[in-house]
């Protein structure tokens, strides 16, 4: 294996404009990626993610610093960018391949593969001006991922596609990773980034706020987002629909439905659900949030090692919390069913089930942790 990194950014700075009105979009960003590594780029809007990707692709020149890329890079940056609207999907695929330096025969073969992957049907032969945003994303991803470049850069466009195609894209990216393709992915879908990437870079106002293992960086970023919004992510329902949550009941240890619990009591979350098709090893989870959005705890069957079964029909999932450690306050429960890779949600009811916890304890904080105090007299100095 070569010691040469697949991608190296060193001291990257990008300033737009001159003088006092100049805007610093990126300031001293450095990182290296080995072949086959994957890095997720996160940050709020305007944090410099797109500028960084543009610099990595050579689409703009850095004000300072250097970028080194070992080999060609394929990219999916903006919906429809680079497509000629009068040409068909197939013709555009050929054009993209030709512009990437492929021969005519290679370009035609690539267009066939991209057409199969994009599943656009008859639309593949129609002008792309007739395409919806989702179809543009399908075509763009299909072409970019078919170019077989050793490095691929993707910027926040996957969210445009439907659940089915998002999953297909993520599967393709995972395959590419296992084929030692180096990935740089900017996204707001932190679940997807956790599954796709081994490292993450958090940009804040153009500077590196954190760079390191994906879970460490994304945990910090999520915490930052919660602090900023004063709450966690908003309650709601989402998912691709392979699982339908029929009902959710919060009960005590005797199975009585309740809305109020005491610290130390048993809390059961009973979820009746139905699968719309046979599902192999779905991840099922329950999470508890304080009503201001603070994430308290979120176990699932993946972390507990309880996968490996095919589900097809109606079931009841029960999550039981013995000796509920939460201190007094208002809380909300979330219920989620994910695919086996824990990337995309079949069904996710987020913070939809409220409960109140009463506590006669005077402890401060979120949870009661088993503890003891001991005071010993120290030897005289």
């Amino acid at each position: 294996m070569s010691d040469r990194p697949a991608l190296a950014a060193r001291g990257l700075c990008k300033r737009f404009g001159n003088g006092p009105s100049a805007v610093v979009a990126l300031d001293d960003v450095s990182f290296e990626l080995e072949p086959g590594a994957a890095i997720g780029i996160v940050g709020e809007n305007g944090s410099g993610k797109s500028t960084l990707l543009d610099l990595l692709l050579g689409m703009t020149r850095p004000s300072a610093g250097t970028v080194e890329v070992a080999g060609p890079v394929s990219a999916l940056l903006e919906l429809g960018a680079g497509f000629f609207h009068e040409l068909s999907g197939r013709q555009n695929a050929v054009q993209m391949a030709l512009l990437s330096g492929k021969s005519s025969a290679e370009a035609k073969a690539l267009a066939d593969r991209a057409g199969d992957f994009a599943e656009l049907g008859a639309f593949f032969e129609r002008p792309v001006r007739t395409y919806s945003a989702g179809m543009l994303m399908r075509l763009g991803f299909a072409v970019a991922s078919s170019l077989a470049a050793p490095v691929m850069v993707v910027d926040e466009v996957l969210a445009v596609g439907d659940g089915y195609f998002q999953r297909k894209c993520i599967d393709r990216l995972l395959q590419m990773r296992s084929g030692r393709v180096t990935l740089v992915v900017a996204a707001h879908d932190l679940h997807a980034l956790r599954s796709l990437c081994d490292r993450a870079l958090w940009l804040r106002e153009g500077r590196v706020a954190a760079l390191g293992p994906v879970d460490d960086v994304l945990d910090g970023y999520e915490q930052h987002l919660r602090r900023r919004s004063g709450a966690g992510t908003a309650p709601g329902r989402s998912g691709t629909g392979e699982v339908v949550i029929l009902s959710v009941r919060l009960t005590d240890g005797q199975g009585r439905e309740r809305a109020e619990f005491c610290t130390g009591e048993t809390l059961r979350v009973e979820v009746d659900f139905e699968t719309r098709q046979p599902l192999d090893s779905p991840v099922m989870g329950v999470a508890l949030f304080r009503d201001d959005g603070v994430y308290c705890y979120g176990p699932n069957t993946l972390f507990d090692g309880q996968l490996g079964k095919v589900y097809d029909g109606r079931y009841r999932l029960t999550a039981e919390f013995d000796e509920l450690p939460l201190l007094g306050g208002r809380y909300e429960a979330s219920v989620a069913f994910y695919d086996s890779s824990h990337v995309y949600a079949y069904a996710w009811h987020h913070r939809l089930y409220p409960l109140r916890v009463r506590s006669d304890r005077k402890d401060h904080g979120l949870v009661w942790l088993r503890h003891r105090f001991e005071v010993r007299e120290l030897d005289p100095p």
């Binding site: 689409m59 903006e78 960018a81 680079g82 009068e86 054009q95 512009l99």
Partner: protein, 263 residues
């Protein structure tokens, strides 16, 4: 371009033909005659000029060249140039997506130039057709020079386009200025009138204008050039085309990155 694959032209040249074809089809999409309009429209235009100037107003062309032929051989190449240059002036604002794509600016400029050149090609065919129909014998050089002029015009226009596209994005004032300059240049070139009609300072202006020499080359089948005149015009037209190509490349290299950041 992948290592080891050497070609005379940049790889984007392979993308040009389908884009030009699609652009021409789009222009006449839905019309009864379709692509035939690409030929019919300029021919009708030339005929109109011929009727109005040559017949109604009684304007005279040079050396027995019918006014319609004079117009076709002058106005069409000129419109092709003007259309391409004006298109390049709005190319980047009209295609902001290019900032985040790998489509080369040169491909979009070349597409405009080639699409616009269809008119110039029709002007060329009108002159060649007239020469054939009237039994003129301009010699081998006379037959060859119009296609040479066509290629020189395309090279020069491509250079101007590469210059104008990024500079007009950086300095939007260039666009209206350019329109006025091109209008002025329309009358400072022997497009709507024969060169022989110019006297005094206007003749000096015409001789300093490379487009005059280009039009001489276009018109050789109908108005043969000879000796020093032919070589002089060929030299001026070639030098101007190559100079514009070089200048366009130089400016594009410097201005494109700054323009891209502004989009």
């Amino acid at each position: 371009m992948p290592a080891g694959r050497m070609t005379l032209f940049p790889s984007w040249v392979r993308s040009l033909a389908p884009l030009v074809g699609a652009d021409l089809r789009r222009r006449y999409a839905g019309s009864l005659l379709g692509g035939a309009w690409a030929v019919l429209a300029p021919v009708l235009e030339a005929a109109t000029y011929g009727v109005v100037f040559g017949w109604v107003l009684g304007a005279s062309a040079s050396r027995g060249l019918p006014y319609a032929v004079l117009i076709a051989s002058g106005l069409f190449p000129w419109i092709a140039f003007r259309e391409a240059v004006e298109g390049c002036a709005t190319l980047l604002p009209d295609n902001r997506w290019i900032r985040r794509s790998r489509v080369p600016l040169d491909l979009l400029v070349a597409k405009l130039v080639v699409t616009a050149s269809v008119r110039a090609a029709i002007g060329l065919l009108v002159v060649l057709g007239f020469a054939l129909a009237t039994g003129r014998r301009p010699g081998a050089a006379g037959w060859l020079l119009p296609p040479v002029a066509f290629v020189l015009q395309a090279i020069g226009t491509f250079g101007v386009g590469r210059l104008v596209a990024p500079v007009a994005a950086l300095a939007p004032d260039l666009r209206p200025t350019l329109v006025s300059a091109l209008t002025l240049l329309t009358f400072a070139s022997p497009i709507l009138y024969p060169e022989s009609a110019a006297r005094g300072w206007l003749r000096t202006v015409l001789l300093c204008n490379p487009f005059t020499h280009l039009l001489r080359l276009y018109r050789t089948p109908a108005e043969p050039l000879a000796g020093a005149g032919l070589l002089g015009s060929l030299a001026v037209a070639t030098s101007a085309a190559l100079a514009m190509a070089a200048l366009g490349g130089w400016v594009r290299e410097r201005a494109w990155w700054r323009a891209r950041d502004l989009l």
